[in-house]
């Protein structure tokens, strides 16, 4: 009796193993016409206005499922999505958007100005992360095809900021989980199935104004481990992966089935100094510290393909980018300057960061500083603790990769460097004035000039160190055509197609 039990178990095991081999498809999980995306970030929710709305995962999904008024194209220039025209009034306190006609939601109902205005209200009511850009602003539907945004002050960056605002049908409540399980949107795709934090399957939206996408299905699977994502790409289980570190690009570039491309992004490495602490109050000290680190070599060694030495506090594809005078590497001069300024070498500086991805970079920086006798405590913190400490200014040097989905310096320089922002302890009234003027002038050329002057102050006063501009590396299977890498890490699949293979 016991014997047969044992044998039974053994047979069951064999059968189980046999069953698994019966599944067809092998390495390529995608059938013809469908794409599998191996994503880094989880998509927890499909609500573009909710708590997760600003998160990368939700933004990626939102781009495919819903439409926004305007959004940046792959070249960084704003393109109209739901809006065909947008104009500010004389002092940029009001923006008028003319809506495209003939746009329908996936359930067939037309998209009206009322939907847009109602979505904006819901967006503001839910107080997600991106609503801080629009505090006190309102949007009203002035006609069936026009909405007007009234700002509380002159704001030239409104269209760029709206890149994260998506439109859903009016009448969806704040906690409508059922709606977001199978949402109705006007984007190129609709949701076929959604398992939060794991998989999102999209199918073409027949009602899409730009014509239904040619791929039959897009499946976005979360794979948190880099090795797993890359392996999936190489075995054919995944068709697209992005955010690939340099060290792994070589293997992919050698694979003839894959196309590898890097695209300049809006993301920059930013290493603020806490200018409010006594040790770093003096701009000379800060400049000296910057001079002491050989960023050129570090960037070349660690990020040969996806990094380039920064020459401004914002990335080259941002509005407001003006090239600055590079800070050279001169450890001896740096040490001399520090000694002259009375820097206390016995005190440790606390450098904080929050992502294992940046560990190597920061370790290299600490090593260079150590060479001239500056002691740095490298603190890798969990995101929750990092954010808490960031806001409390409980750090001496703060490392972050700051990206800018609006492509407009107003969102970074204008938001993070004024005195009132209290983000890095640096306060300069002259800078505040420049930034505020740059944010309100409707003339792009003038804005760029003003941001250039502001950048110069930030650069020369070494409010932080600005080591590197980031490029995103994308790799995709050659069977995927019509795919363009996106500078924001939020690629669009509406124009993609699959080669019969």
């Amino acid at each position: 009796m016991r014997k047969s039990l044992l044998y039974g178990l053994a047979v069951a095991a064999v059968v189980l193993a046999g069953c698994s081999d019966a599944t067809t498809g092998g390495g390529s999980g995608s059938g013809s016409g469908s794409i599998t995306v191996a994503g880094t970030y989880p998509i927890e929710s499909l609500d573009p206005h909710g708590a997760q709305g600003g998160g990368t995962g939700t933004q990626l999904a939102a781009r495919e499922i819903y439409s926004r008024l305007v959004g940046p194209g792959t070249d960084g220039k704003l393109k109209g999505d739901l809006a065909t025209e947008w104009k500010p009034n004389a002092d940029a306190t009001e923006w008028t958007f003319t809506l495209r006609s003939g746009v329908r939601f996936s359930d067939g109902k037309p998209v009206t100005a009322n939907d847009v205005a109602a979505s904006f209200k819901r967006f503001m009511d839910l107080k997600g992360t991106n609503t801080a850009n629009f505090t006190g602003y309102t949007m009203t539907a002035t006609s069936d095809t026009q909405v007007v945004m009234k700002a509380t002050k002159s704001d030239a960056a409104v269209p760029g900021k709206l890149a994260t605002f998506y439109v859903i049908p009016a009448g969806v409540g704040p906690d409508d989980t059922a709606f977001f399980q199978k949402p109705v949107g006007s984007g190129p795709f609709t949701v076929d199935s959604f398992t939060p934090s794991q998989t999102l399957a999209l199918v073409p939206n027949a009602q899409y104004y730009g014509g239904a996408p040619k791929v039959s299905k897009v499946t976005i699977k979360k794979m948190p481990e880099l090795a797993a994502r890359l392996t999936a790409l190489r075995t054919g289980e995944a068709d697209v992966v992005w955010g690939i570190p340099d060290d792994q690009l070589g293997e992919l570039q050698g694979d003839s089935k894959l196309t590898v491309e890097t695209v300049p992004s809006t993301a920059v490495f930013t290493m603020w100094f806490n200018s409010s602490i006594p040790a770093l109050k003096d701009a000379k000290v800060r400049r000296a510290l910057w001079q002491a680190v050989d960023f050129d070599t570090i960037v070349k060694q660690l990020y040969p393909q996806t990094g380039s030495l920064s020459d401004a506090p914002v990335s080259p594809i941002t509005l407001g980018y003006v090239k600055q005078q590079p800070v050279g590497y001169d450890p001896d001069a740096a040490k001399a300057a520090l000694t002259a300024a009375g820097f206390d070498f016995s005190k440790k500086l606390r450098l904080q960061f929050a992502n294992a991805e940046f560990r190597q970079f920061n370790q290299a920086v600490v090593s260079d500083l150590q060479k001239i006798g500056v002691q740095v405590d490298l603190l890798e913190k969990e995101q929750a603790v990092f954010t808490k400490d960031l806001l409390a200014l409980n750090w001496d040097i703060n490392f972050q990769q700051l990206s800018n989905p609006t492509f407009d310096a107003a969102n970074t320089l204008g938001r993070l460097y004024p005195c009132a922002a209290k983000r890095n302890g640096y306060c300069n009234p002259e800078l505040d004035q420049l930034l505020s003027k740059a944010g309100s002038s409707p003339d792009e050329a003038e804005r760029t000039k003003l941001y250039g002057e502001a950048s110069q102050i930030i650069w020369q006063d070494a409010v932080g160190m600005f080591p590197m501009a980031v490029k995103y590396a994308y790799a995709w299977n050659n069977r995927l055509q019509g795919f363009s890498p996106d500078p924001n890490g939020l690629p669009d699949f509406a124009t993609a197609q699959v080669n019969g293979s």
């Binding site: 060290d247 792994q248 570090i298 060694q301 190597q360 370790q363 090593s367 969990e382 603790v385």
Partner: protein, 289 residues
Amino acid sequence: MTAALELQTVTVARTHPRRWLGRVPYFVLGLYALVGGLGPLFVDYDPVHTSLQDRLRSPGSEVSTGTAWLGTDALGRDVLAQIVYGARTSVVIGVCTVLVACVVGVAVGTVAGYFRGWLDTILARGIDILLAFPAILLTIVIAGAFERSVLLVVTALSATAWISFARVTRGIALSLRERAWVDAARVLGVPRRAILGRHILPFTIGPVVALATLEFALVVLAEAGLSFLGIGLPNSAVSWGQTIANGKQYLESAWWISALPGIALSVLIVNIGILGDQLTARYGRGHLN
């Protein structure tokens, strides 16, 4: 238990080579202790210092400071040096955690087993509660949330490691308290502390030592796991777990970063396991836990 003991002695008497084999773990562990203890005197290593031009060199390559016998990692730091210094960290963390767990566990277990009653019930339930969630989760929560340090890792690991010690000593205390000499001591009015110290505790030493060796192995592995997840130790610490984790992305291109410390770790654990086995066989008890 005696059956297994007889078995062991019979086999040992029959075949001499087995005695030598049995000694191998001691040699290996001694070697590790030597390397961990004295190695840093001969090998220079500064975890903070990076040497980017020497990144990802294979074992035996020439680097700016000499020869990297076991290659370099992604920041140009010597892997051999990391293994030597890492031995020390792993051992220190292992020993500290086991000591703390031992002290706490033995104390709790003896008291619970000897005094029984509500004290025992509370402690037993407390242990059940702690065991209700998987140890690794608790460790991750503790280690992940606070500022990194060796102390944090030791705390996080001991938080669950003490339980096995408590159980084993509790079992021993429970059975011993009924023995004749303990009874006699009680009747004679010997203070409880003395009874515990002189009549109960000495009997726990054997099984506790056996258990300690096994727990040591588990702790070293757990620390590697924490480092793999990227939490616990600060960046300036050197540990095998961190080195293995640092090489995680380079398994195909620079396999030596993860493989070699992984081998060092596994060899250590295997030998501890063999040693623990021998000790358990000799002192019996508790191996069902």
